[in-house]
Amino acid sequence: MNKLAAVVALLVAMSSRGWTQSGELRLCLRAEPKTLNPMQVLDEPSETIRYLTGGVLLRVNRVTQQVEPELATSWRVSKDGRSISFKLRDHVFFSDGTPFTSADVDYTVKQMMDPAMHSPTGDAFRSGSGEVVTHIISPTEVTITFPAPVAGVDRQFDQVAIMSATSPKKELAVLGPFYLADRKSGAYVLLNRNPNYWKKDAMGRQLPYLSSVRLDVQPNRDIETLKLRRGEIDLINSIDAEFYDKLRGTSPQLVHDAGPSLDTEQMWFNQVAKAPIPDYKKAWFRSTAFRRAVSQAINRADLCRIAFLGRATPAVGPISPANKFWFDSKLVTPRYDPDSALRLLQSDGFHQQDGALVDRTGNPVEFSIITNAGNKYRERMATMIQQDLAKIGVKVNVVTLDFPSLIERMSQTFQYEAVLLGLTNVDWDPNGQMNVWLSTSENHQWNPKESAPETQWEAELDRLVREQAQSMDLKKRKRCFDRVQEIVYEQLPFIYLVNKNALSAYSTSLTGVSPSILRPQTYWNVEMISKQ
């Protein structure tokens, strides 16, 4: 009798969660994927295909933020942080039936680190000069040794889709929940359930629940939203504030706001010594008091409320408050205070003359903010900053440029005064931001490729980011990065403006969706999603 009750309960549970292995998940790609090779992924559509088809050794759980075993049942990072050993799952097969062994891990690492491949995935592992060596201990045991310590090395394997060393299908043989079944250029990509997928749910059922995923290539967001409302697609992974608001008005059950994301929107001043701008302007931009005053005169709450329709949070620094572990909780959102900004400027030799701010040599304070044309949120923010700064007598000219011109000015000619742009963070671990903080880096945007740190605080930033990158002690790394945040908060090389919220929309016919602020926000657990 008890057995019968248990079977009935199981059946009820299965039907109540709409368990089926025949559903098709439909969503849109905003462009044609540029590659199917998991080592060459740079664009978002290709990343979507990689995520849905690729099998990885370790996966970062997008909700708990913990690293979880996937194709590796266990792993161990050496004390010096230079090597990682994996114990691999046994009896696992690629989608074409080829067995998975440590030779495949070796092949994948070789592909990833091959200089001829220029693999963007491999960049995260290039910790120093020298070779990355894979040592195969047995078919299920492998150790990878790096020339120098790699901070958060286990988390980096979330991006490494294992490729088969022996399959004739090469990168089309996959270990993830789906494999590429069909593709029509410019129209769609069809992924079918991988019959050899190794994972089973808690009840022992074969995963994934879905039988296929259809990805329609659709760059128009209006049409994408319309398709969701009509039930022609099941989810929009990332939706912007305007479409979110409109969708909320008509179909509130479809939208989900996961709160502040890890992405930041910021502005910065040109501090390049050789930049072709007047010396007196360089002096303003290099003045901490000037940057601090500008920051205080910007009404971030208004930026969030108006430019992002309330779907953003005032930013504090490079780490979003949503990143609970790495965020330095001692820091508070900069206060909007134009009077204090004016006092600060006066203490730095500026004064007001007929309502306009002038510097100590009588030059009126006027600068331009460039941003990329077509991004209405940034254009709105720049226009609002224009009005905010006008209150303290600063004249701002807003210039929108096409993206290539913007990048050329930012990184080659340095013909700009201030830039407003955003930074996308794909990982909790701030180690990925190293290329922004190191003074020698090309992405050290306010003053790229310094031969030696030009300020004391930049020298300290260099020391701190290097120290954290070479340490395996999480507490020490946290201490280092807290100090990085404090320096950035004090010196304001970037004036952080807002953290956009992670907005998504999905159909009520889906179960198992657990939106996260990390990419891919809605389908990160695709194998557990089912469709009624």
Binding site: I306, S368, V399
Partner: protein, 268 residues
């Protein structure tokens, strides 16, 4: 037809009046952000509501009309002067000068003007005042927009060159500047006027295209192009008819110019 002409002239006059006296008519500054009321519906305070930053849409429409309507004819005039010089001289001289000029015109017509405009815009000094940037934008439009008109004018000039009228004029002793002033220019006047009127809506729409791409008039100055950016998707104006007013105004003004063009004395 006469009624339509009168209506068109009346509409253009009303629009021109509104634009000219925008300072008196507009209820608010075109730039001021009423941050407590973004995206507001029409009210007594804001007759056409506010835009996404809380700026009074009616005021922005008036000032935008002033900019687009004042500068588009100037750009049209510039392009017609250039077209008359290239097309008129080429057609009048004939022979290799005509062939060279028309080859250059063809080359100019083949150029992707939008990319040229984007390139010119990106080369502008960043601290150019919004008014300067809009002047440069229209100046560029005028400098790039002469080629199509030059072909038409060249054809007309060529017809004049081989016409009996020219033979007779020369027979009566007219030469040089006198021939140009008395015979050539009056003969070309209708086509020049027609091309000028055709060019005005073309330049208004070109600026609107640049505005839609975010490369038009710099913030916070409004133009029809920047006002039309609000209509970048169907959902952006669904149920909010007042957002369509700048578009309606643009359509009416362009239509009025077309109606006026249909008059026989300016028709080709």
């Amino acid at each position: 037809m006469r009624t339509l002409h009168i209506a068109s002239i009346a509409l253009l006059l009303i629009v021109a009046f509104g634009a000219l006296f925008a300072d008196k008519v507009a209820p608010a500054s075109y730039a001021y952000q009423f941050r407590e009321a973004p995206n507001a519906s029409p009210s007594w305070t804001h007759p056409l509501g506010t835009d996404d930053l809380g700026r009074d849409r009616f005021s922005r429409t008036l000032y935008g009309t002033r900019i687009s309507l004042a500068l588009a004819p100037l750009a049209a005039l510039l392009s017609i002067v250039l077209a008359a010089m290239v097309g008129g001289i080429a057609g009048f001289l004939g022979g290799w000068p005509e062939r060279v000029a028309m080859a250059a015109t063809d080359l100019f017509l083949c150029l992707p003007w939008l990319f040229l405009l984007l390139m010119v815009r990106s080369l502008l000094p960043l601290n150019a005042a919004p008014l300067t940037s809009v002047l440069i934008t229209f100046l560029t439009l005028g400098l790039l927009g002469w080629a199509a008109a030059a072909r038409v004018i060249c054809t007309e000039a060529r017809e004049f060159r081989i016409s009996d009228v020219l033979l007779q004029a020369r027979a009566t002793g007219q030469h040089g500047w006198r021939l140009l002033a008395v015979q050539f220019v009056p003969k070309l006047r209708p086509v020049l006027l027609a091309q000028f009127l055709i060019s005005i809506p073309v330049f208004i729409l070109s600026e609107a295209n640049l505005g839609i791409l975010g490369m038009g008039v710099a913030e916070p100055l409004p133009s029809w192009g920047s006002l039309l950016r609000e209509l970048d998707s169907l959902s952006s104006f669904a149920g909010e008819w007042w957002k369509l007013v700048p578009l309606g105004l643009l359509v009416m003004v362009v239509t009025s110019f077309q109606v006026l063009l249909s008059r026989e004395d300016v028709a080709l």
